[in-house]
Symmetry: C2
Subunit: 212 residues, 2 copies
Amino acid sequence: MAQLRFDISVSLDGFIAGPDPNTEQPLGAGGERLHEWAYELEAFRRMHGMAGGAVNRDSEVVEESTGNTGAFIMGRRMFGGGEGSWDESWRGWWGQDPPFHAPVFVLTHHPREPLVMAGGTKFTFVTDGIESALAEARSAAGDKDVAVAGGADVAQQYLAAGLLDEFQIHVSPVLLGAGTRLFGDDATDVQLEIERVVESSTVTHIRYRVVR
Amino acid sequence: MAQLRFDISVSLDGFIAGPDPNTEQPLGAGGERLHEWAYELEAFRRMHGMAGGAVNRDSEVVEESTGNTGAFIMGRRMFGGGEGSWDESWRGWWGQDPPFHAPVFVLTHHPREPLVMAGGTKFTFVTDGIESALAEARSAAGDKDVAVAGGADVAQQYLAAGLLDEFQIHVSPVLLGAGTRLFGDDATDVQLEIERVVESSTVTHIRYRVVR
């Protein structure tokens, strides 16, 4: 069966965003440094509509993940558009051709009609919880995996609910000191197995399997 | 020149000890799980005076570290013996034959005569700061490295002072949720390079070099 998983860049001290995120710096102070390993990769650049870039072990890891992903789930804050009811003109942070190129299910309390973007991304808004979003995403993904695109709170909810199969962290050699932690305070009874490690000079990819 | 470095086991969420450490559980709730990868190794057992055990990539990493270490530096809390002036009967947490088998320099504000233990461990108490302790330890270590044995606060002080050359973390597939963080809030300007990754089924060893 297809897996529910996530892929995320994290600092050596456990943060997926730096302190004080805002619209100017959505990843918080220093948060862009977490993703430096990816910016020059051909796989990353293609996803974002740019030509050229490096092909190496890191890009293979990215290709593998994107190639296996049939649908995404994300939280309301990651889609953006304010905390209240929808401003229907908001179409996400990623422009007209978002880097997902697949169905994306946005967890929210505010109903909204689906939003079809260029390049294969379609945002569908799910108001009845994480299990319902997962069922819809699985159905859309077919044989492929469903990936939690973020944020950390959504990943934590799926982990805590026992629904997550595996996750891969990309550990950047960066210390952020403070910010948004990937893991919460209450996941201490989760049993994990190391599934695979891929090393490079710029980042360490570690994939874990959640043991049921 | 010989290096100043540390080796430490850390949870996937960045803690080197769990919450609520006390004399019953000095590593805090769940903290023992960080070290499970090491307990069965021949290299670890020999260091603690026990025969037998596994020889594998993990034990090679341990052997390499202990073989290159000529002296240790540790904080007062890691040596123990209370927060006030010394109870001279206190001889550390590790029994008569501690696992260091080398000179150990203990950072403290309370002078005390050196303490010679069985098996080559000698505790020397240094009252005039981290640079003085490092000079004494380097002199004692000869051509070998000096290792910071802990705690995290001492490792952070050497990192912040620009005195640390490298460190190796042993990332256990464990979530502790809370506890003692390896890194503090203020090391965000430290530049790191990934030096080496060793993977196994139980732990991921990542060695970083501090860039000056």
